[in-house]
């Protein structure tokens, strides 16, 4: 310390001139580069400190024109970050410790003062104040960030009582922290879930917010951190996108209706006989019109699925019945391709609570694919009943999928294997829709396959019993 070029500038407020002299002598005896200014009055001393830069204040508490603690209060309110060492007589120790809580860094008992203890105290107070300042700066930086962001932040106890709330959250919930601290958070807190609440937006209008809750610690107790984000604009955009997609699909389907039915009537000979060649080309037209229709349908579905706004119409049914029905509907196309189609089902009912139409679609899709890509051999459908779910496997002896393609099977617009035009053309969306539908039912879907060795598509669904 004594090697520093700049002298240490100290100030002492002490009404007893003798005590000032003692302190001055002790400092001089240390031979350190320290300057000492003094005042015997509180007001004058504070004035000097506010006007000049001092590195430390030695402060007596009982002064003729006021109490030393007043100085601490003034420094705090004026953001004066000066380290303070309290000079006290033996019987003032209680007051001295109050002073420390008020922001002083240390205290010295005048009767037992020595050069060593004084210097120790001075340096200790300066270092301690520097650490306190650094912590305070850090705290206030974090505080301004938390207050500035437009994301609402609330901390609540497990019984929902609010412990902390930032500016954005105050605004969203139309409250202030004085009202809400220790009061219950006005909405049900769902752990780890996203839930929507009505909010007042930062611009004053009303809108929607999405809350996300995380586990956190608060004062050593388990608590909940609730983050609230304004999603009004996103929601409006979603609704616009929905309406737009609805209109686009209507505008595409209407001309497709005319095209399809015109071709169908001509190709059926409703308006005069046609030859074989004409018939073949009209069939091509019909296939392609149907492909366009499916693409429009699939695009509409996938956009709804991605927005997670697909409504499931759940009923309870025996999954075995569904598999039986669907297998039956594939019987004749399988027979005409000379492919064996069979199934193995559990003996007892497999009751699921699911959207029958959507699961039908998944099965139709996977079995349809299996049939499309299998030229010889068999397709086998099996259901295994596990503890709380069923596992359905559709296994074929078809083309299989290469190692490179395997990770992309459920991607959008992915098509593997070139097929002739006589096949029903896929949209490349079927499996990604299937995946979304199964996941919407809290199930999983995956594939195991090797090129030229067939494929096994698996999916799971929760079962009731």
């Amino acid at each position: 310390m004594n090697t520093s070029v700049k002298p240490l500038k100290l100030f002492i407020i002490e009404d007893n001139e003798t005590d000032i002299a003692v302190v001055r002598r002790l400092i001089q005896s240390s031979k350190q580069n320290i300057l000492l200014d003094s005042s015997t009055r509180l007001k004058e001393g504070i004035k000097q400190i506010l006007e000049n830069q001092y590195d430390l204040l030695l402060l007596d508490l009982s002064l003729p024109d006021g109490h030393g603690l007043d100085a601490l209060v003034q420094f705090k309110s004026k953001s004066v970050h000066i380290p303070v060492v309290i000079l006290t007589s033996t019987d003032d120790r209680v007051v001295a410790s109050i002073a420390i809580r008020q922001g002083a860094q240390d205290y010295i008992v005048k009767e037992s003062i020595t050069a060593a203890s004084l210097l120790h105290s001075i340096h200790y107070a300066i270092e301690r104040k520097a650490v306190e300042n650094a912590l305070e700066t850090e705290r206030s930086n974090f505080h301004s960030i938390v207050e500035m962001i437009n994301e609402g932040i609330v901390v609540a106890t497990l019984d929902r009582r609010v412990q902390f709330i930032n500016r954005a959250a105050e605004h969203f919930l139309q409250t202030d922290r004085i009202q809400l601290i220790n009061a219950p958070f006005p909405f049900k807190i769902e752990d780890g879930e996203f839930f929507e609440i009505p909010i007042q937006r930062l611009n004053g209008n009303f809108g929607s917010g999405i809350c996300h809750t995380l586990k956190t610690d608060w004062m050593g107790q388990e608590a909940r951190l609730i983050m609230i984000r304004d999603i009004t604009v996103e929601k409006a955009a979603e609704q616009m996108k929905d309406a737009f997609l609805q209109n686009v699909s209507h505008e595409l389907r209407t001309p497709l209706t005319s095209i399809r039915e015109s071709i169908a009537q001509v190709s059926e000979g409703l308006h005069g006989e046609i030859n074989d060649k004409q018939d073949r080309y009209l069939s091509l037209c019909l296939n392609n019109v149907d492909y366009l229709k499916r693409t429009v349908d699939d695009l509409l579905d996938i956009s709804k699925l991605e927005a997670a706004r697909f409504e499931l119409n759940k009923t309870s049914f025996d999954f075995r019945d569904l598999v039986k029905t669907i297998t039956l509907s594939f019987k004749s196309p399988a027979v005409s391709k000379n492919i064996q189609l069979d199934k193995s089902l559990p003996k007892s009912p497999v009751i699921v609570e699911a959207d029958r139409d959507k699961i039908t679609r998944v099965l139709m899709n996977i079995i349809g694919n299996a049939l499309k890509f299998t030229e010889e051999g068999s397709i086998h459908i099996s259901i295994k009943k596990k503890i709380d779910h069923l596992e359905c496997c559709i296994s074929d002896t078809g083309l299989g999928i290469s190692k490179e393609d395997l990770p992309h099977v459920f991607d959008k617009f992915v098509q593997f294997g070139k097929l002739s035009l006589t096949h029903e053309i896929g949209t490349g969306l079927g499996l990604s829709i299937s995946k979304a539908l199964i996941e919407l039912h809290n199930g999983k879907i995956w594939v195991e396959s090797e090129l030229n060795k067939g494929s096994q598509f698996y999916f799971t669904l929760p079962v009731i019993k």
Binding site: L256, S258, I259, H271
Partner: protein, 122 residues
């Protein structure tokens, strides 16, 4: 011969539906907007109504609600047909009491089957 009223604002689709149904031995009357449809229903008292949902001057749903309030036509079966096909719309019109639902583009076999079923059951 059973009489079917087909209401659609698209003249192409109207013509195609008419020729398809005529070829299958149905008598067909047509209407191309909501008000005309209502007038034709009361004038013709058809055995079945095929009703497009989106039409000018009164949607198909509006027409349907209107005929439910008129005793002499309230019992006529209605099949809705729409290019706004979605499970939600289908559910909505079925709950209203429509006997069936056809989504555009339609498949002629499916259409004829639904028409026959609706007429047989009425």
């Amino acid at each position: 011969m059973k009489k079917i009223l087909v209401a659609d604002d698209n003249p192409d689709i109207l013509e195609l539906l008419q020729s398809r149904l005529k070829a299958n031995n149905y008598e067909v009357v047509t209407a191309d907007n909501g008000v005309n449809t209502l007038l034709k229903i009361i004038e013709e008292i058809p055995d079945l109504i095929i009703l497009d949902i989106k039409m000018p001057s009164g949607t198909g749903i509006g027409v349907y609600e209107n005929i439910q309030r008129q005793k002499q036509v309230a019992g006529i079966p209605v099949i809705f047909i729409t290019a706004y096909a979605s499970a939600e719309i289908e559910e909505q019109v079925r709950e209203m009491g429509a006997v069936d639902f056809i989504s555009k583009p339609f498949n002629a076999d499916d259409l004829l089957e639904k028409v026959k079923k609706a007429l047989d059951e009425s």
